[in-house]
Amino acid sequence: MEAPIYIYYQLDNYYQNHRRYVKSRDDRQLLYGLKYNDTSSCKPEQSNNGLPIVPCGLIAWSLFNDTFTFVREAAQLRVNRKNIAWKSDRDHKFGKHVYPFNFQNGTLIGGGKLDPSIPLSDQEDLIVWMRTAALPSFRKLYGRIEEDLEADDIIVVNILNNYNTYSFGGKKKLILSTSSWLGGKNDFLGMAYIAVGSSCIFISLVFMLLHVKNPRSYANG
């Protein structure tokens, strides 16, 4: 596999598209931080001990926090975890001067914690997570391995299994993938094109046969 190799984690049966979940964020707070404090949409992860939470809401609170390290022949592969989020998110949706505050300090801890010294615009894990998935089975970009991997290479993955998916019977998967001009490997689109194309050809052949065998006549339609 040629670099860059993308590392994805996949969660199944995880409803990031649940309405309660999707709404539970505040775009203004993410952009302006504590200056913006009308964060009613974030309930119940709005404030803790009377202090507002930054970033607030269920999405941030349930941040995915498994970590993966990759070892090839005893040498750890460098995983680049920068530039994994959409650029517009980093530049315009998450504030450059907004720092996590009072995050994961409640009695019930959901997912990962954030380094309070790094501004939100640089917390790319969070940014990736906060762009909610459309379907209950989804992949998110974890990072990139920027070295080529050869066939027969044995890679040992150390997983720190923090994130609770047992309660709702979800599965976790880890995927390594390259990408082409079209994006990732997409069997479906190719197959579907072939299927629809060939059925069109089939239909047109049938039509042609019918037309030749039974030419249209005007006298009896």
């Binding site: 989020a85 998110k140 689109l189 629809v196």
Partner: protein, 1186 residues
Amino acid sequence: MSDGRRKKLHFSKIYSFACGKASFKDDLSQIGGPGFSRLVFCNEPDCSEATSRNYGGNYVRTTKYTLATFFPKSLFEQFRRVANMYFLVVGCLSFTPLAPYAAVSAIIPLIIVIGATMIKEAIEDWRRKKQDIEVNNRKVKVHCGNGIFNYTEWKNLRVGDIVKVEKDSFFPADLLLLSSSYGDAICYVETMNLDGETNLKLKQALEVTSGLNEDSSFQDFKALVKCEDPNVNLYTFVGSMDVKEQQFPLSPQQLLLRDSKLRNTDYIYGAVVFTGHDTKVIQNSTEPPSKRSKIEKKMDKIVYFLFCTLFLMALIGSIFFGITTNEDLGNGWMKRWYLRPDDSTIYFDPKKAPTAAVLHFLTALMLYNSLIPISLYVSIEIVKVLQSIFINNDLHMYYEEADKPARARTSNLNEELGQVDTILSDKTGTLTCNSMEFVKCSVAGTAYGHGVTEVERAMARRKGSPLVHEVEDGRNDVEDPASAKPLIKGFNFKDKRIMNGKWVNEAHSDVIEKFLRLLAICHTAIPEVDEETGKISYEAESPDEAAFVIAARELGFTFYNRTQTSISLHELDPVSGKQVERSYKLLNILEFNSSRKRMSVIVQNEEGKLLLLCKGADSVMFERLAKNGRKFEEQTRDHMNEYADAGLRTLILAYRELSEEEYKAFNEEFTEAKNSVSADRDEMVDEVAEKIEKDLILLGATAVEDKLQNGVPQCIDKLAQAGIKIWVLTGDKMETAINIGFACSLPRQGMKQIIINLETPEIKALEKEGQKFAIAKASKASVVNQINEGKAQLTASNGNSTYALIIDGKSLAYALEDDIKSKFLELAIGCASVICCRSSPKQKALVTRLVKRGTGKTILAIGDGANDVGMLQEADIGIGISGVEGMQAVMSSDIAIAQFQYLERLLLVHGHWCYRRISSMICYFFYKNITYGFTLFLFEAYASFSGQPAYNDWYMSLYNVFFTSLPVVALGVFDQDVSARLCLKFPLLYQEGVQNVLFSWCRILSWMFNGVCSSIIIFFFCTSALEHQAFRKGGEVVGLGILGTTMYSCVIWVVNCQMALSVSYFTLIQHIFIWGGIILWYLFLLVYGAMSPTISTTAYKVFIEACAPALSYWLVILFVVISSLVPYFSYSAIQMRFFPMYHETIQWTRLEGRSENPEYCNVAPQISLQPTTVGFTSQVEEKRNH
């Protein structure tokens, strides 16, 4: 409000006038009683007693709204529609946290839609307002003291004002005629706007006021009028006038109604009695019944169906939502912990899952609201208005001679025009021009005139013989139809023996002289001499009468002046051959009425001879002839029958000389009868007249043609070919009606006639005995019997021969009774054509209702006169002919055309197009909303039915309003399956509308099914193609925002391309709208995506950053569009190829350029023979073979 005021007046007046009762006769005794309390203080509207009565002003408002009531009233109208109400509720709910999307995005489309409709209402009302302003500000002369009359606006008139109305102007209010420019205070009034009659009516003031014919005489005039309260009855008026301390009874003869016109009179003075909304004409104006087309009614059903679907979808969602929510929390153990089910709001609380599910139901109702097309109603309204503009501007329906275009007065019924099953037509003025032409006459047993009538031509065609008209003296005259155009209106008489004064050389020139003189004297017409040219034209009560006077003028007896007591003629003297002036002293007029069927005048000529001149129907005239006056009876009778066969209206002319004594005796009796005030006055007058109208000497007979309008037979033929049934409802005699029917080829040759009438000897015998009950019983039995016989004939023939049903008014009255009307209807439907003669306006309306209710099909009524109003309002579509008979029919019609022949284009072209357009438009509308709405539902299934929309809020709210609505409107306005020329060439195409093939449930449901299929393809292909994998080279995956945008793009592409596939007639506008819709979507994405992320949320830079550069986005769209259109495309290809509908066959023929080849044209209609037209088509076939 006004009712309350009137009521108060009643109570106050009951007592004060009770004592005066006894002194009045009959009606007048009611004055002062309830309903007769009005007091008018003439010439003193300012006096305290008058002002205390507080009668309303003369301002008339016809607008639906005022400035103050516009908003509440029009909003109320809007929200009476279920769909709009639903959207209002959704809009309100969207402000609660229940809403799956932002409130603004739900409200804005509603505001746009409601706003558009309200603007339309406002514009329509503004037009009415402008008309009101014009009417209310017309000027009239009003007495303002000291005998001075000044101009003032109509709206300022008050009850009691004295006004002076000048020639040819309208009366500003209901006036009491006081005096006129004529010495005997008469005036002529034209009441065309009231009853549609064009003839002039004579009104006469009381003698006591007739002297007030100068401005100054009103200086001291005072009178008190007591009369009835405002009411709707145009022909009654009860009141009395106190003037000079005497009381005089008033009658309708003194009342001049608003909206009628003063004619032939220089000026009149009148006192205002009823103003503004109290006037009879305004009291009479009723809101026309609002009609809705069948398609719209069906559309409502579809909307209800969609509502059910919506509820079902929401219900399914809520159940699943309730279950999953309930499972989230159990025994202190959280399943989907990331949703914090332990600390939830009521909407998602697992502890109260049922409540949450119910609330979710509401959310889901809002979420799937796109299933109900919010813009459907407003789009349809816009489309219909534009369609009516097309109809109004169609040059092929513009009648140049009268400068009258077609006018769609309501745009509601355009598509109904394409579904007409039966046409009920009036005859006079609709099929015929209602301009009578003098064509033939028979004098002294000799027939004159070689004119050939339309009916004769039709008969000749039927017989298949060349048209040879034989004249008695052996000359053969082959008439060329083109040369038959009359040069003089009302006169189409050609005979060299009589024309240009040649009659003096005829054998019976003395009889001819008398004949012509009678024509010139015996009438009630009024001459109008054009001062510049010296030409004389006539105002007559009926066009027949005008035709007679004109004929007399053309043949040398010019009637040029009428006074109350004399008639003056220019006569051609047979001896000297010069024009001489003669004047006849007019002694009595014995007026025409329907029971007498004749009119007479008694005149004294210059020699002092007393003459009674009489003209009348043959049925009454022959029996009144003297023994020595029957010289030419036999020949005349023969000629009469010939004329009747030729479809002409005939009258017999006769005269007698009176002796002085005889006249004296008669005159005394007659005057006495005339002056009697008993209820049977009219009968007494008739009796006296009868006594003198006897022993007449026959002069001859006249024949007047009621000309068929241009192109009527061809038009009827086309309509019949289109499978439309045509019934004629007329007031005319049976023979005339049948003849005109034949002229229009309504009952065709070879059709068997079923005639139902009560002219049987038994009933005639009973009638002579005069037992009403027995007559009724026997008549009914006879009608039932005849109907049963007819039905037996029908079933016996088993569809082998076609029948024409002809029924007269008397029988119709029985046939329309509740217990036999269904039988009658069955018989009538079984017949290919139906003619009802001698039918009254009410019967016309009843027949219309019977057919409408009985068949459930679309009924079109067409007529031109006031007697057709009931029929027009009762029918599904009322078409008014804006011809000569005034505006009454037009005012109560839905669409007005100038000529019957335009009906062909109106129905076959516009009706067909509109029907097609509206039905495809509605189908497509539902398709596009289902395609879109169903993707939302499918997405829900993948979001555990939590109510999260797949799309951004604004995408959702703009879907119906912007991205997809304009192409539909373009489809509704411009689409046409085949061109107008081919529509007319293949009239059977019209059956598509009659049988409603384009808007059948099957078709609607298959479009809906197509929508469901498309949405399934869009959703699953999009999700499968974009799930999991990196979206582009950078490795990013697809989130909710991008998937939503992609899916939405697919929906927009698919529905717009689907539109492009189903449009059969592309114009530039269609291209602009279809592709513009897609471009608009991308422009919107660019603009919306460029806004700050707090506004655009998930759509922020989604196109510019994520979608546009990613090839997979475009590939997915291409793929989805192709695969969701392939099913429809193959379906329509198969259908077009193997099971073509009729219009498709025509399209095919046209495409191959064979539509010009007659062989193919004739063959084509057979392809899609519809079962219901089989019986009829055999007729067409038969005709073709001829």
